[in-house]
Subunit: 676 residues, 2 copies
């Protein structure tokens, strides 16, 4: 632990110190335009905020929260208690000048200008939403040094590149309580995300209270669902932070929980039950049954007023035709109504659902599968399939949102998501078509997470996605992104998200001790298997499995491993021998850790599956140290030695404990550096 | 950080290793009777639970949660998903045999017997409440070693010493959200506490929704209050864990927030406003106004049905007579009705409130001040004044609860609370009178805490209070208590409480870095000023102050400091020179830390107030090292040197940064050891 920290901080100053101009502002997402000035605005206890123009309740509350957050961060006792447009203050430190209330809808103006001089701060914006974004930028700008707490003199003109910057949270596979949603809304606001998509129905659970159809939650949720009061609270809480809430009721597939409550609406004979396993399931609503539409009409009539947003997401993905094939009545209905195949049957279903939603004033959003001639052009296609599907949709006149490439449950690297652009360079879309690409949305599917570790799957990687969706396309330097990511990650936990603090808690649980350093050395450099590989190894995972093991603590793209990988890459590129001692620090740590790991795992069966990676890491480190000794001595490395290390690297790539070693890249660079 | 952990673990094995017989079971509260056997019950993936006799929904849920918690702790994939009395399992690992449902009331049977053999586990109890207590004991018994995860063979017969084992949470001075209450209910259940007392009204806020008098929350809460749905959720959640919920509406004083909404009920001219400062305030209900009772009648008519518990707490403490003195009408009324003084006036008020509560089937609880001839004997006196007041009450025929000595907001040591007994040895109460001492209640007043650090004020110290209230009086070994406390503290965080994880988070915020070790070395050995001393130094504290500074992170009776103090005490007693190197480890750490602290605090104004203690700590360490060198060499310490160190110790006792140094005792022992 102690060593870890020293290593990364040495590393960080060495590597990132080379790009001071990129590194001068720890902002994420990076603003569209930023002009640095000289000097600072010094914060003192007379710091006050004034809303000088238009105001409303949520702007007062947002400003008051920022006042308190600056106070909390600096520990300073401000004279102002809260910000109220009614109570004018003398010589305000920060003046907020907003023209009008913003609407929570596509293309709304979220731009702002933030001007900090030596003796004044102003935020100007068209809408209060713009002011919210600017206030978060201001908060990120706090620095402190011997002269005090302060903001740098700067002039920022900023606006988002995309109007839809979303985070989907699946509260079905594992239920997430209200508090999880609230803390993540606060974190979203910090990185200027503006759409919370709640995935509310699944095979594994129905998660929203219906008063008309109470069996939905009574039989379909294990008692784990949001009450309508909680939904209202969420919508209001998000709205206060300029964040839209779009609900999803996934139909006609993904409906085991719904059909557990109302089996008569199913396409199969039933009975149904809440599914406890993962995968694509067959229970499907019956699109040929009038009662299905009567049910949906009443249900949507009840649920749509809870969500003021114009959009309503009906899912529509991964519909299996098993039940349809096996149901003669459905096939007869299709024949009688000229429905040629099951894709057409789903389109027919969607058409009728569309009519219901239109009656309630809602615009339909659905996953790729809903794309069909019968969908009106104001529908929104949510693409999980990829950029091609997205482009097809916008060419056909639909609005579209990209989620392919933003599946944060799949443990991809941050840079993988960062490079995933809803409007990639060189695309041949027209200006109109481009405008219909609303943006993107990170999707937090919840099969393999619980309320304990879910934040560590969302953050900090989603901050990089937020930057891709907010900042100009030209902001794309990967090293610089990672540098800023480390800093925003620390700030994010002040919003309440638990990605850092629960990491240590989970280590302590497995160790039954405060002393977690040996386990941490290993967990810091492994990552959960990517994509869907974890389902193909280890015990079968279900709703009730323990999600408390090494693989559940380990994070995608771990910061510590990255430090080593970058160092080795830099050495390979530069052959700068000053880097060798830094590399050796890592190698010594890993070489020595294995014996300790064997010791601590002896009496702790739960961590014993980490031994393979620990051993591989030790062997890699030993061989790495041999290499760095030869590098320092200027000796040539034999081709035999190179072959041995290559084999060891290949061996170390194998999965174990549902994890992979995250430092392979580094060793490959190190080895490569001695090959030439 | 790294050093810290090694130090404590060495310390712990050395000191506590001396009492293996006391130390064999990491249980808190310690059971009434425990008979150790030989060997273990080995947990494997076929581990199942069966409810073999009486069952109900909450017993099924409790058992299912325990199943999942054992799975989470061991990382084992159990075949059983959840426990249902309907689904019988073959060869259950754990059989739960309960006779009947328990009632959430005084003197209910919470006893249980837990028998673990090599191949079976049984919990037998009169009520489901007893089974809950037994299941928590079982969970605390999990150990693991090379042979696997297991429970020791043991026979436990256990029952509580007191029927009222409470925790009061003040959700008024700083509001605590629903999630804080829930996580603390889970933690309470782990240590067998059974009463949650919610302090819901104060000068600083009204925290419970009224639909009849909505201005209470609209004008009296800043929007921070529990809805009635949330209250129901809390009551249900607590009830599922065998925990009663007793609400408190504090009248006639402590009523600024109430009177902000309904000033016409006040004894003064008004207008009133929510108070943002701390202390005893004057706004008081008018006991001579008929409208006051009409209001309370309607309000209690609305609120009492939300709380099924027989008791309703009306506060009644700290009523200032300022407004009464200044109101001629009140004084005329008193004259006309033969009310002799203001104490009688409050008694008159209480009498009328009592009538209202009796109408709604409630028994009245109030703080010491309500004690008066007109109170019926079934009322409960809640003693904040002390053991004398408590004894007076039970002698007069009242039931009574002790909170004096359990004020966990006052940063006293764990042992201070642990030795505070509601029925001290040598008391001369009759058997009947003793029985009327219901028990005790830890009180978490919330002036100086927020949702971030409140858990660190409650836990782990409240676990020791729980033991005082549950376990036999004879369980009183302080060292052994502290040993077990460290272990229960780690287990407690698995319930979700944040006393450990937010400590590090708050350090990271002040450091803006993962690297917190230097700051931690200091914060680990300081503690917030005790009792009310913090209000007399430093900036004036209000609702809106930053509670994020060193003093807010530091905890009462810090574990690390205790380690040093015990070592020095042991050396002083034993003169065992083997302890000297261990003492030196601490001293070296502290001597070297100060230079680093000066560095890190240079650019972080928020932590600069820690420099005085850091410097004193360094000087103490330097002098301590001189002493230990002389001890090892067998040299005599000059009286001049002793005087210098004595002066330094006196100097170091001074408060700074609203904290005191927590290692003074250790240095005093060390110095004392060379005096003789």
């Amino acid at each position: 632990m102690f060593k870890y920290l020293v290593l990364t901080s040495i590393f960080s100053s060495l590597i990132f110190g080379q790009n001071p101009e990129n590194n001068s502002f720890n902002l994420m997402p990076y603003p569209a335009k930023i002009t640095a000035g000289n000097g600072f605005y010094i914060i003192d206890t007379s710091f006050t905020i004034e809303i000088s123009n238009f105001s409303n309740n949520r702007l007062e509350k947002y400003s008051s929260r920022i006042l308190r957050r600056i106070s909390g961060k600096t520990g300073m006792f401000f004279k102002q208690d809260y910000v109220s447009a009614k109570n004018k203050v003398e010589n305000p430190a920060l003046k907020i000048a907003v023209k009008r209330e913003g609407f929570l809808k596509d293309y709304e103006d979220e731009s702002y200008r933030l001007i900090i001089t030596n003796n004044s701060i102003t935020i100007e914006s068209e809408t209060d939403l713009g002011a919210f974004r600017g206030l978060e930028t201001l908060f990120q700008l706090i620095v402190s040094d011997a002269s005090g707490n302060k903001f740098p003199v700067v002039d920022i003109e900023d606006e988002p590149r995309f109007t839809w910057r979303g985070l989907m949270i699946d509260v079905c596979r594992h239920f997430m309580p209200l508090e999880m949603i609230l803390r993540n809304i606060d974190a979203m606001a910090m990185v200027k995300l503006n759409v919370l998509h709640l995935h509310l129905s699944e095979d594994q659970g129905w998660r929203i209270e219906s008063k008309i159809f109470p069996k939905l939650q009574e039989l379909g949720s294990d008692g784990l669902y949001f009450t309508q009061e909680e939904i209202k609270y969420i919508v209001n809480y998000a709205g206060d932070r300029g964040i839209r809430v779009v609900p999803e009721i996934d139909i006609p597939g993904h409906s085991s929980a719904l059909l557990t409550a109302y089996p008569e609406l199913g396409s199969g004979p039933g009975p149904y039950k809440i599914d406890r396993t993962w995968g694509i399931k067959t229970p499907t609503l019956n699109p040929t049954n009038t009662k299905t539409y009567e049910f949906l009409d009443k249900l949507f009539g009840e649920l749509t007023p809870l969500f003021p947003d114009a959009y309503f997401h009906i899912g529509g993905d991964e519909v299996k035709d098993t039940e349809w094939k096996n149901n003669p009545e459905i096939n007869e209905y299709m024949k009688a109504n000229g429905i040629s195949d099951y894709h057409e049957l789903q389109a027919y279903f969607n058409g009728r659902v569309l009519n219901i939603l239109q009656k309630y004033g809602k615009t339909l959003v659905g996953w790729d599968e809903i794309l069909h001639d019968n969908m009106p052009k104001n529908s929104v296609i949510h693409s999980w399939r990829g950029i091609k599907a997205l482009m097809k949709a916008v060419r056909e006149g639909y609005k579209a949102i990209l989620s392919n490439g933003y599946y944060i449950d799949l443990n991809q690297s941050t840079v993988f998501h960062y490079k995933n652009d809803p409007l990639p360079e060189g695309n041949d879309l027209t200006k109109e078509e481009k405008k219909r690409v609303l943006g993107g949305e990170a999707t937090m599917w919840a099969e393999l997470v619980t309320n304990e570790n879910v934040d560590s799957r969302i953050w900090p990687r989603t901050a990089a996605i937020a930057e891709r969706l907010w900042s100009p396309q030209s902001i794309s330097d990967v090293r610089n992104m990672y540098e800023r990511l480390g800093k925003i990650s620390l700030l994010l936990e002040e919003s309440g998200v638990k990605h850092i603090k629960n990491y240590d808690m989970m280590l302590r649980r497995l160790m039954s001790s405060h002393e977690v350093s040996t386990l941490k050395v290993l967990v810091d450099v492994v990552q959960p298997l990517k994509e869907y590989a974890r389902h193909r190894t280890g015990p079968k995972l279900t709703s009730f499995s323990p999600y408390t093991r090494i693989v559940d603590i380990a994070t995608a793209d771990p910061e510590f491993a990255r430090g080593f990988n970058f160092l080795c890459e830099d050495y390979n590129n530069s052959k700068n021998k000053e880097l060798i001692p830094l590399i050796n620090n890592y190698l010594n740590l890993w070489r020595d850790n294995h014996a300790l790991f064997l010791q601590i795992s002896e009496n702790r069966p739960v961590i014993r599956d980490g031994r393979t990676h620990s051993l591989n890491l030790k062997r890699l480190a030993e061989n790495g140290l041999e290499l760095t000794i030869m590098i320092e001595k200027g000796e040539k490395v034999s081709s035999q030695k190179i072959k041995v290390i290559e084999q060891l690297i290949e061996l170390s790539k194998k999965e174990s404990a549902q994890c992979e070693l995250a430092v392979i890249t580094g060793f490959e660079f190190l080895l490569n550096s001695v090959k030439k």
